[in-house]
């Protein structure tokens, strides 16, 4: 905390390590977490002890800033890209969203952990993100569905978290300078310079993160959205078979499609297009996933092979892969979109939808061939948020219609996918 306080007074001199030219090197997960069994967050109530924990962790960013903080969850050293998320709710869904692989997620909402974690709010089988950065770790949990405290959950999953750090100051930095690589450590033996070097020698651009998060083999998905939480029970008709490419798929995409009445087969990211076509699906879904779409040419190839043969729907990474497959370009955004409050204009329905977003890359619509329509626009920055190529039965969204976390405004897009499959089937 001491360093951070000084940052305020002289943010550019005292505590900044000398910037060095950035060395690009493609190393992933160079550091592993080590689990500590010591319970790290017990507030002492005795008179003698301080009723708070003292700082025992550091976050070093590649811009040279050092942030002292308090650790929870696993201990050790971890490197990753720091991104901020402005969602007020849904930290458990964010923790289990595979799209965050390789990233530290900084939550701008200061109080995290208030509702603990529960069985229903998991978005994948494990946590793939690099770590969690928050302002204040809840000292208790309050929720009827809570089964575990956040700190215990991170510890079990061998994930590092830090709290009591000025998350707003870091967010402002990310906003100004773009996403930054950072190193998180609880190891006192490591010097700031070593950590800085580590952050500068790591990169996330051009790395295939998808192969680390996808499933190993195809499987059937049957769960629908639990009736307790279902909010849109309209438009269920015929049953369509959808093959979902798992680039890091969130379970809620599957639950929503299932709720709309589809039979789903989930396949790994490297599943050949030919195998998919053999299964004669009514539609194919390209899921969300982590990292850089340019780093997975094999996936782009698969997408290309499927185009025109079957109706397809891309979400997030799936949308970017479609963009590339259509011959367009993707680029890395300054700090991306991560939150649950982004206004999107749906040009087809002519309405504004408040959307959940989580991406660092975007499709450049100018680079797309003729015939491809931009169907959705992010109103905050005008970026492309959705595409359609009716000639080839393609639709895609850059953001997350399945929400979880986030608003349900765009849920009807699943109905449109059903409609697309229906039309194609009827024509055939």
């Amino acid at each position: 905390m001491e360093l951070a306080i000084k940052n305020r007074i002289a943010p550019t001199t005292q505590n900044f390590l000398t910037p060095k030219p950035k060395v690009k090197s493609l190393r992933v997960f160079s550091v592993k977490c080590i689990t500590s069994l010591s319970s790290s967050d017990v507030a002492a109530t005795g008179v003698a002890d301080r009723p708070w924990k003292t700082s025992d962790a550091r976050l070093v960013l590649e811009d040279g800033s050092v942030w002292s903080a308090k650790s929870f969850g696993a201990r050790g050293t971890q490197v990753g890209e720091v991104v901020f998320n402005t969602s007020l709710t849904g930290y458990q869904e964010i923790l289990t969203d595979p799209s965050y692989a390789g990233q530290f997620v900084l939550m701008t909402n200061p109080h995290i952990g208030n509702t603990g974690v529960n069985f229903d709010d998991e978005e994948s089988r494990q946590c793939f993100l690099a770590g969690l950065v928050i302002r204040s770790l809840s000292i208790s949990t309050s929720n009827w569905r809570c089964t575990k405290a956040l700190g215990d959950y991170l510890l079990e999953r061998n994930l590092m978290g830090i709290y009591d750090v000025d998350t707003r100051a870091i967010t402002r930095r990310l906003r100004q300078d773009g996403s930054l690589i950072g190193v998180l450590t609880t190891e006192e033996s490591k010097t700031d310079e070593e950590l800085l070097e580590m952050s500068r020698s790591w990169d996330i651009v051009g790395i295939d993160l998808i192969s680390g998060v996808t499933c190993n083999a195809p499987y059937e998905w049957v769960d629908k959205t639990d009736p307790e939480w279902d909010f849109n029970c309209e438009g269920r008709g015929d049953i369509y078979h959808v093959i979902a490419y798992d680039f890091g798929i969130k379970h809620n995409i599957l639950r929503r499609i299932s709720s709309y009445g589809c039979k789903i087969t989930v396949v790994p990211s490297n599943w050949p297009a030919s195998e998919t076509l053999k299964m004669k699906p009514d539609g194919v879904l390209f899921s969300n996933g982590p990292g850089d779409p340019s780093a997975v040419p094999y996936a782009v190839k698969t997408v290309k092979e499927l185009l025109g043969n079957v109706p397809v729907f891309g979400i997030c990474m799936g949308h970017q892969l479609l963009g590339q497959a259509l011959g367009g370009k993707t680029f890395k955004m300054k700090f991306g979109h991560h939150g649950g409050n982004h206004p999107v204009r749906n040009l087809v329905a002519n309405r504004v939808e408040i959307s959940a977003q989580n991406h660092n890359y975007a499709v450049d619509p100018a680079s797309l061939p003729k015939g491809v329509e931009v169907t959705h626009i992010n109103l905050n920055d005008g970026s492309c948020a959705g595409l359609a190529f009716p000639a080839l039965n393609i639709m895609s969204l850059q953001y997350h219609p399945e929400a979880s976390p986030g608003p349900h405004d765009s849920d009807s897009v699943f109905g449109e996918f059903i409609k697309l499959m229906k039309e194609v089937k009827q024509k055939a």
Binding site: A44, V47, R50, D121, W144, R168, I354, N380
Partner: protein, 1052 residues
């Protein structure tokens, strides 16, 4: 908002359908926007739609249509609407017999506990919560008996359920966004306006939050609010997450105002644009300027709102919180964590707490049972009972079981107690820098740290600053820092990075008034805003500091910069250190900033900070704190008065009971007694005898040398005068307005109706008043505003009652009555301009008459008496303006909610002190065709004068009595001056409460009754006409204006 330059046309007129129709007929508007003026405006819109006015004049309702308003407001229609979209509401029914009630309990609801609420009762008696059938029948029986209409509402009890609110906005293109979620710390059962609330909601997962969001969107669509803001309230069962819809307001509400301040998203401003056809995505976000308004704010801080109450002003009513709102104001605070914002909100309340805990609170002395009761029954001080319970070792679980306050909040508070324990065991010198950071991050004030470490606030401050631990200011930007904010709306926190970025411009810090309370309301905020506007136009950067979310001053666009902060010495000095303004203005925000003036002055004298603009030192502008103190300190003030040869009522300062009796004997009864240094007449009383004086000293205030009691001669039947004057630093004084009170001296000036210009005051008395006011202003070196109160006796003697060298409650009224913005002038005067330069050199006597009337909240406080006295109790005021005095008075009465009858029976009951006026009063009403109804004493007196009276029994004398006549609609107006004796305390009070319940106008002063008689006479003979404020001044400008100007008093 009623400033003539705020709108093109401004009507200061009672809000009745008849008069609004007149406005519609005159102005022929295309549309009416009914969703901004609260319930009053909605009700008016419904009335105008239903009586055909809208159709007749072809006026469109925009924002919400009639159907939507009805669907949201009508209990049954709302329930049906919710059922249509598959949402649950608490099952309930209205029964008028025991059998019906049992049917509701068994068939409609089917489970206990049940809430039984009698409709239309006196004193809210007869209701309760039933946990079993037997209890249910007992409560229903008593409820049916207590209800004047023999009806009770039986409802499923949601006791202990959590309460949430969502602020929703919709545009004409059907885009819907949620602006803010709010979680109530006080669970179901307490009106949301009386609850401590937190934004954003803290204990909902995403799935649960999105469910409420989906419901809110469905609701606004189903109810059919076409565009604008709405507020939806939900109850959530903490055990299984079951959701019930409680209510929906199809308009912007108190919560919208709070949500706007909490998020930086100006709901009402946006709603207005939506109502004329803009869609959300066409309007830029006011703060980022680059992104559209069609988004949902994300906030990276916690907001806490705490209501402020005034139960001590309403003896007889229990300080219990229910679904009837009783708070009079609120404070809001922002912090990076709940603890920080909560502590700041507690100290912002200005109720004597420097934060939560770390103080010798009264609750610590309570026994366990008393504490438990106060945890169980919601009351204004429950958070302090929680503190005391925790200090006594009560576990979070137990406190939760008693209070149903969510454990998340309770554990946060428990940690504060742990921190306090840690601090208590240490001395200041042992605290490390890290300790300071950790403690300050939890919102502790220096005062609290001083209490815990047994040191002084000053020591804590200097130790803290020596460690370099100072607050950093974060910005409210609607987007959690995702986009750059152009608007400097700030709050303090002890976090790393400060975003304040103060400028080097010439600038002024204006201290606001803090939470609204009785005696210090929006009148002061009006002054602060006007000061800001005028100094901005004069080229200054204005910086506002305030903690009240209900104000215009805390709109981020009112001043150049806004600090939403508590108004305490510590917080103000922090802002002064950071901003180093050229000037600090303390005289516009009422008592709150005045109390800070001396400590600020001491700090400035000691540290002599240079202003950031480089032009000299930081100074307090306007009248010096020393002069302010001279006017407040009785002994210093007496010396000045004596020197200036100004008369004041005989009196003295009593430091013991014996002193008091001696002084009273010397000056003669009746006397006014009050503790020294009070606001709003707190604890003030008129005493007629030694016995009563002794009783007062025994019961009301303990006298000791530290807290003396002031005893003054009470001037019976004197007319009270209020004067607002302006003085510049060049020695010029101009009278802003002289107001004649309608109620006699002795009724608090804030509760009294008053007239401008004066009507019955002789020119010699007015001359004396001018002379004295000018002398005083000069003697006190007033720079800015000054308010004086005088009393003029029947024989024409003038006495000075009070002088306050600051903006007064009447400044907005006077400004609107005379058409000159006095507060704006005052701010310019403080910046060094002369009255001559401003062009305000002569008192303005308008050709029209303006009447101010107080609005009293007695109906919200079951059990309290309705008599007016020296203690202020009004919570608002209205203005009537006309060319005829009686009509201006009638307008003010109608606006204040009194329905003046034109015929019928008047109930007269006068005490011995006022009996001398009885004959005149009775004849006045007889002359208007009223019949007089009286009980024995008054009747006997009148009969002796040969006046016919219908005799009626007092309530304790048997039946049928006066109460029965009231209930049967046989009394249309009541005039009661209380004797204050014990039968009256029972009989009279009950009758007065009944009149209140039946909405029969009740007048408790002779002068008020006489003015009412005049008003009724005029109402019978002429039509009430409305006229725009702008026209009053235009008409007068066309006349020979100079005739109406009196010579400037500065020439004296």
């Amino acid at each position: 908002m009623t400033d003539p330059d705020m709108a093109d046309r401004t009507y200061v007129t009672p809000l009745t359908p008849e008069l609004v129709e007149q406005v519609v007929a005159k102005e022929r508007p295309d549309a009416i926007l009914p969703t901004m003026g609260g319930q009053t405006a909605l009700n008016l819109a419904v009335a105008l739609a239903e009586n055909g006015v809208l159709e007749k004049y072809n006026v469109e309702l925009i924002g919400a249509k009639l159907n939507a308003i009805k669907k949201a407001e009508d209990r049954d229609l709302f329930k049906q609407a919710m059922k249509n979209i598959g949402l649950k509401t608490p099952p309930s029914g209205i029964g008028s017999t025991l059998e019906e009630c049992i049917h509701i309990s068994e068939e409609v609801i089917g489970e206990f506990p049940l809430i039984i609420r009698p409709a239309f009762t006196l004193g809210g008696s007869g209701g309760g919560i039933a946990y079993n059938k037997e209890e249910f029948e007992v409560i229903c029986k008593s409820g049916l008996a207590a209800s004047l209409t023999s009806q009770v509402l039986v409802e499923k009890s949601l006791l202990g359920w959590k309460e949430y609110e969502l602020e929703v906005m919709r545009d004409l293109s059907d885009n819907v966004v949620i602006i803010c979620s709010i979680e109530n710390i006080d669970p179901m059962g307490v009106h949301t306006g009386d609850s401590i609330t937190v934004a954003p909601a803290q204990t909902l997962t995403d799935k649960e939050y999105q469910r409420l969001r989906d419901y809110s969107i469905k609701i606004i669509r189903e109810i059919g609010v076409e565009c604008g803001g709405s507020n939806v309230q939900f109850a959530v069962n903490p055990v299984d997450g079951e959701v019930m819809v409680i209510e929906m307001n199809p308009r912007v509400s108190r919560s919208s105002a709070l949500a706007s301040k909490a998020t930086g998203f100006p709901i009402a401003k946006m709603a207005a644009k939506l109502s004329v056809g803009y869609s959300l995505d066409q309007i830029p976000n006011d703060i980022t300027k680059k992104t559209p308004a069609s988004f949902e704010p994300s906030i990276d801080y916690v907001v806490t709102k705490i209501p402020r109450f005034a139960f001590e002003k309403f003896p007889g009513s229990l300080p219990t919180l229910t679904t009837q709102m009783k708070s009079v104001g609120e404070s809001m605070a922002l912090g990076r964590t709940f603890q920080e914002s909560f502590q700041k909100a507690v100290r912002s309340l200005e109720c004597g707490y420097s934060g939560w805990g770390c103080a010798q609170v009264a609750e610590l002395d309570w026994d366990l049972e008393h504490l438990k009761y106060n945890l169980r029954v919601p009351n204004p001080d429950r958070i302090h009972a929680i503190y005391a319970a925790m200090k006594k070792g009560m576990k979070v679980d137990e406190i939760h079981e008693l209070s149903f306050v969510d454990k998340w909040f309770l554990t946060q508070l428990k940690e504060l107690v742990d921190v306090e324990q840690y601090l208590m065991a240490r001395s200041l010198s042992h605290l490390t820098k890290d300790d300071f950071i950790e403690v300050k991050k939890r919102g502790y004030s220096d005062k609290q740290i001083a209490f815990a470490t047994k040191s002084t606030e000053k020591e804590v401050r200097s130790q803290r600053i020596s460690f370099g631990v100072t607050p950093s200011y974060k910005r409210v930007d609607t987007c959690a820092a995702e986009f750059e904010a152009n608007t400097p709306y700030m709050y303090s926190s002890y976090d790393a990075e400060c975003e304040s970025a103060p400028t080097k411009r010439k600038k002024v810090l204006i201290l606001g008034g803090g939470p609204n309370r009785i005696g210090q309301g929006i009148e002061f905020d009006y002054c602060c805003c006007h000061a800001s506007f005028s100094l901005q136009s004069a080229g200054y950067e204005t910086i506002m500091m305030n903690s009240n979310p209900e104000t215009v001053s805390t709109d981020y666009d009112t001043s150049d910069r806004l600090y939403f902060e508590p108004l305490t010495v510590e917080d103000v000095l922090n802002v002064i250190d950071l901003e180093r303004p050229d000037g600090i203005i303390v005289q516009f925000g009422g008592q709150t900033p005045l109390k800070l003036a001396l400590p600020i002055q001491q700090y400035l004298d000691k540290h002599k900070p240079l202003s950031a603009s480089g032009s000299g030192h930081v100074r307090i502008w306007g009248t010096s704190p020393d002069s302010i103190d001279a006017a407040e300190d009785r002994e210093r003030f007496n010396a000045i008065i004596k020197e200036l040869n100004i008369e004041q009522p005989k009196g003295g300062i009593a430091k013991s009971d014996a002193d008091a009796l001696a002084i009273a004997a010397d000056i003669g009864y009746p006397v006014v007694v009050r503790p020294s240094y009070v606001l709003g007449g707190r604890g003030m009383e008129i005493v007629y005898s030694d016995d009563k004086l002794v009783m007062y000293l025994k019961n009301a205030v303990a006298v000791d040398p530290e807290c003396p009691v002031l005893i003054d001669k009470y001037l019976s039947d004197a007319v009270e005068i209020d004067v607002d004057a302006l003085a510049d630093s060049h020695g010029n004084v101009v009278i802003g307005g002289v107001m004649e009170h309608i109620e006699q001296a002795g009724v608090h000036s804030g509760d009294s109706a008053c007239i401008l210009p004066t009507q019955t005051i002789s020119s010699s008395c007015l001359n004396t008043i001018h002379l004295w006011t000018t002398k005083l202003a000069k003697s006190l070196n007033v720079c800015g505003l000054m308010n004086c109160q005088y009393a003029i006796t029947m024989s024409g003697e003038v006495f000075l009652l009070e002088a306050n060298p600051r903006a007064s409650r009447t400044v907005p009224f006077v400004s609107k009555a005379i058409g000159h913005p006095l507060a704006k002038y005052a701010a310019l005067v403080m910046s060094g301009k002369s009255l001559n330069e401003i062009g305000f050199t002569k008192e303005v006597i308008p050709a029209h008459v303006a009447v101010k009337e107080a609005v009293l909240p007695f109906d919200k406080f079951p059990g309290c008496d309705v008599l007016l006295g020296p203690e202020m109790r009004s919570t608002g005021e209205v203005m009537g303006i006309d060319f005829l005095v009686a009509i201006a008075f009638a307008k003010a009465q109608i606006a204040a909610g009194q329905k003046l009858p034109l015929s019928g029976n008047v109930f007269l009951s006068l005490n011995d002190f006022t009996k001398s006026h009885l004959e005149r009063l009775a004849k006045a009403f007889l002359g208007l065709g009223f019949r007089i109804v009286s009980t024995s004493g008054t009747a006997h007196f009148l009969e002796l004068k040969g006046i016919t009276v219908d005799r009626v029994l007092k309530m304790h004398e048997g039946r049928p009595h006066a109460g029965d006549m009231l209930a049967n609609g046989q009394i249309q107006l009541m005039v009661i001056t209380s004797s204050g004796d014990s039968p009256d305390q029972i009989d009279g009070r009950q009758l007065r409460r009944m009149a209140l319940a039946y909405k029969i106008p009740i007048i408790t002063t002779v002068s008020g009754a006489l003015a009412t008689a005049d008003a009724i006479e005029k109402l019978k003979s002429c039509k009430v006409e409305v006229m725009a404020l702008q026209d009053f001044f235009n008409v007068e400008q066309q006349k020979d204006y100079s005739k109406n100007l009196q010579s400037a008093s500065s020439s004296l």
